[in-house]
Symmetry: C6
Subunit: 76 residues, 6 copies
């Protein structure tokens, strides 16, 4: 099976951001492996401002890591 | 389509801060892609002190990354 | 118009701390641009221990960035 | 007894992520050593979106550390 | 008037920790300058586990900065 | 009196993690010095999933600092 996280390298900051979003989601999957339960929770937090901001915070933390791993995409 | 995040480089700290604000918002968009729903949530959290502070926290986290990417704009 | 954040450089750690406080507040302003509404929210969160601690957390995050930008004011 | 954390080195980012998940859980164990109590709490937070996002935040923080320890797996 | 934060340098990690505690408190003071109000809030949050943990988080963030400023007190 | 934090150096990552747990607890002690009150709060938060996760977050933040201080225990 292919790894869902083979590398932290991405070509662009935007792809790095998308990877950070993915990384934020996987921890939820690993803590709540039941896909049906997650599908039930999703509309709840997607319509809750506090939860959306909290997700954004997790993304920000992962993005910091991904950005460092890519040396901030300085060499364009 | 142009990338919304082509680079982390900005000319000034203030532009870096604005970019951090934008980065905080995009995660919300990606988690709640329905613009109408977001428009509905916005006045709610914009009048809630806790939510405003939480947004400010996300901005602070992204700003740390943007600032590092710009070597803190040391070379003025 | 002068920039509110022309530089992350400050002469002393205390000025760096004051800048971090300012940086924490600006994100709130950008998210809730209505000054009247902010004036209404302020007494609320200023008398709420949880909100005060949350503000302190945002300040801590920005201070880390400002301190790094100033190389921790090592050269006194 | 073998250490549960002999090293921060992992072969791949994915293994580093799994380690971060483990590190997030151990603090809970050390604070609530009663396994029965933890078993009781688990279904509660696993069906609570806010708690799942908070777990994801802890994982993100540990992953940042593990990634730095592995120099971001740059030498593949 | 003497600065409350003349330097981030401390002789020992423990003094650095004490400084981090102080730094966490000053943001509260700057946001709620009314000492009487703060005195009223203090017993509230000091008997609230969530608030105590949140304070501990702010301290952890400031300690990271102070520790870096002291190069982790490596040269003892 | 011996310092509770004479150094950030530990022999192993696991000892570093234990130190991070200790560091998370001391801030609580300094904010709520009354041992009896803390003893009263402990069972409360130890049976509250949100509080346990919040503690885990503080530990993660301190662990990042301790790990950096030990250069991630790279030289085994």
């Amino acid at each position: 099976m292919a790894s869902w996280l083979p590398t932290l390298k991405t070509d662009t900051p935007e792809e790095g951001y998308d990877l950070a979003v993915k990384m934020a989601r996987v921890a939820v999957k690993l803590t709540q492996p039941d896909a049906e339960m997650r599908d039930k929770l999703r509309p709840e937090y997607a319509s809750d401002a506090d939860a959306l901001i909290a997700v954004s915070q997790v993304v920000a933390t992962h993005f910091a890591t991904v950005a460092a791993a890519n040396d901030y995409w300085r060499k364009g």
